[in-house]
């Protein structure tokens, strides 16, 4: 059984989606129940996978049992396990929230299977060990994203959908070109095999490898929403219902960051300087441009969307250091902020549902009418801004430590300063919407929506409490990622 564990996170949501589509299509209630049960099953599978891989094993699953590098293979390590679990936990909260948040039209129009398909795409991307196959899973993720983004066909969704699609399609085109070029320059698509071949490339093929590196950097930055490739995000993410944008905001951009972590150290071990400097510079600009975008917004989910760009900037900076401490910081930061950002989007969803407004200026005095929501927002908001004692503080500390360690004073300084702007914008929501005279309506909000928020905020608190073990695990994960030889050995030499 455990031998087949790596493929389960892909087959499980696929099977779920098919059952939802073919068997349960008539009953929304049955779809809800089955989605949730299946998702909890997925969480269990992924916990098992995490436990298995936490020892440092690299699980290689050869599809069709073709030997590497000829067939496609799945490659699961600590990082994959973390990403899988992170996506499912966020998905559980989002799904619960969706039960209360979504209207029945959307539920009937296949929200639940589409959601499973999105998970399928993400999980595929988190597991594959083949660069072209990664492209395929990107496309599955993207097409599911497009469908969910426009699900409901509100004018705003449709208008936001077009540039969103166009920009992501540009990214896809570049990805395809990059995958092609990599094959042209090396003759293989298997990541571990590439690790050997790109390092040995010389002459014209070395130039092509560099071009492909830059193109992939662009593609992943597109997907992760780094400056200047983030423009699709702040226009697109606030358009769909809160449950959907929360999942986008929490997880969807992470697949770009994950790919950077996976691909650059492994596939392009010789391009570290190029990738590192590029990521750090783009990260630093993103931190500022993103948070500045947030500072001036009044629409809550749009404000939060701009924050994503800024937070991704942190990740890119820490990752760009390409040291063990830096990559570990990026991983810890990613865990923290996926949960908190998703939680904040859900808070925004509750606020919108309760008041019928989406602008901080038209909402006021929620502190009196919804003290529990206020407390949840206060914790999540301060956590995002990096204030203790919640996970955001430790996430910030590890990034700053890693930055100073490499004597990157300017970029680290920007990271620190960005915290102040983040605080400013978070407290802007607090100050305008939670404090002040009551404004906006007060409609009842289903309990389950609160539960979803509480789940994520609790995770932020827990991750602060277990900072050391989680960070130690992130550190081991980083060490594993930065030693491509292990992957080469596991894929090309072992199990032959």
């Amino acid at each position: 059984m455990s031998a087949h564990l790596p493929i389960l996170p892909i087959l499980w949501p696929l099977a779920t989606a098919l059952v939802l589509l073919l068997v349960l299509r008539r009953s929304v209630a049955a779809q809800r129940a089955f989605s949730l049960v299946s998702l909890l099953g997925l969480v269990a599978i992924e916990v098992a996978l995490l436990l298995w891989l936490s020892g440092g094993e690299i699980a290689v699953y050869r599809l069709g049992n073709w030997e590497a590098p000829f067939g496609i293979l799945l490659m699961a390590d600590r990082l994959s396990a973390i990403m899988l679990l992170l996506a499912s936990i966020t998905a559980v909260a989002t799904l619960l929230f969706a039960f209360g948040d979504l209207d029945e039209r959307r539920e009937r129009m296949h929200f639940y299977p589409l959601f499973q398909f999105l998970l399928l795409g993400l999980n595929g991307a988190f597991l594959t060990g083949d660069i072209f196959n990664l492209f395929v899973w990107y496309e599955v993720t993207l097409i599911a994203t497009y469908a969910l983004l426009t699900l409901g066909s509100e004018a705003r969704q449709l208008r936001a959908g077009l540039p969103f699609l166009a920009l992501n399609l540009t990214g896809s085109t570049l990805f395809l070109a990059a995958a092609g070029l990599i094959y042209g320059a090396t003759g293989t698509l298997n990541m571990a095999h590439l690790s050997v071949l790109t390092a040995a490339a010389d002459g014209a093929s070395a130039v092509v490898v560099q071009v492909a590196t830059v193109l992939l950097l662009v593609v992943f930055c597109f997907k992760a929403a780094l400056f200047p490739l983030y423009f699709w995000l702040p226009d697109g993410y606030p358009a769909p219902p809160a449950a959907i944008s929360a999942f986008f905001g929490g997880v969807a951009t992470k697949v770009g960051v994950y790919s950077m972590m996976r691909v650059f150290p492994l596939v392009f071990p010789e391009q570290r300087a190029l990738v590192g400097e590029g990521l750090m510079a783009l990260g630093a600009v993103s931190m500022l441009v993103g948070v500045w975008g947030a500072v001036c917004q009044t629409e809550i989910r749009r404000l939060l969307s701009f924050h994503i760009v800024s937070q991704i900037g942190y990740l890119a900076f820490a990752l760009g250091l390409l040291t063990e401490a830096g990559v570990a910081a990026a991983i810890f930061y990613m865990i923290h902020y996926t949960l908190v950002k998703c939680g904040l989007f859900l808070v925004a969803g509750v606020m919108e549902r309760m008041t019928g407004q989406n602008s901080v200026k038209k909402i006021g005095g929620l502190m009196e009418s919804a003290p529990a929501l206020a407390a949840l927002f206060f914790v999540a908001g301060l956590s995002l801004a990096g204030l203790p004692p919640w996970s955001g503080f430790f996430a910030k500390i590890v990034v700053v430590v890693a930055g100073f360690q490499q004597e990157r004073y300017l970029y680290t300084g920007i990271a620190v300063l960005t915290g102040l702007f983040t605080l400013f914008s978070m407290m802007k929501i607090w100050h305008l919407s939670f404090w002040g005279e009551p404004a906006g309506e007060r409609r009842p909000v289903p309990r389950v929506m609160y539960g979803a928020v509480a789940l994520l905020v609790a995770c932020s608190v827990i991750f602060a409490a277990v900072f050391q073990p989680v960070h130690a695990f992130a550190r081991q994960t980083a060490a594993q990622l930065l030693a491509p030889d292990n992957y080469v050995r596991a894929v090309l030499w072992e199990g032959r």
């Binding site: 449709l158 208008r159 699609l165 085109t173 092609g180 070029l181 001036c296």
Partner: protein, 111 residues
């Protein structure tokens, strides 16, 4: 041959991008269609240029055109079709709902 091929691919990329930079939905979709051709031909080119050597197993064959790039292109064509079809439907629906066929996003002006 390679030179002219490269020029053709470059032209497709350039023309595709130019159309993507236009402001109406249909031009943009046309642009992506051209970009799709461009990238497919680029991949085909990665396998080298072979004439009359289709990748069908034949003991008499002197060699085969690279079958892998052809498989990749097939996958890419089908995926590209799916996305293009969705994009077209979206363009149509956006025009229906908003009465405009411009590609632009809703904006939240800051106060």
């Amino acid at each position: 041959m390679e030179l002219l091929m490269a020029i053709a691919i470059g032209t497709l990329f350039g023309a595709g991008l130019y159309l993507c930079l236009r402001r109406r939905t249909l031009q943009v979709v046309l642009g992506f269609a051209l970009l799709g051709h461009a990238v497919n031909l680029l991949i085909l080119n990665m396998g080298g240029i072979r004439h009359g050597q289709p990748p069908l197993v034949n003991p008499a064959a002197a060699g085969y055109a690279d079958p892998l790039v052809q498989a990749l292109i097939l996958t890419a064509i089908v995926i590209g079709f799916g996305v293009t079809a969705f994009l077209l439907v979206l363009a149509y629906r956006a025009y229906q709902e908003t009465g405009s066929d411009e590609v632009n996003s809703p904006r939240d002006k800051h106060p």
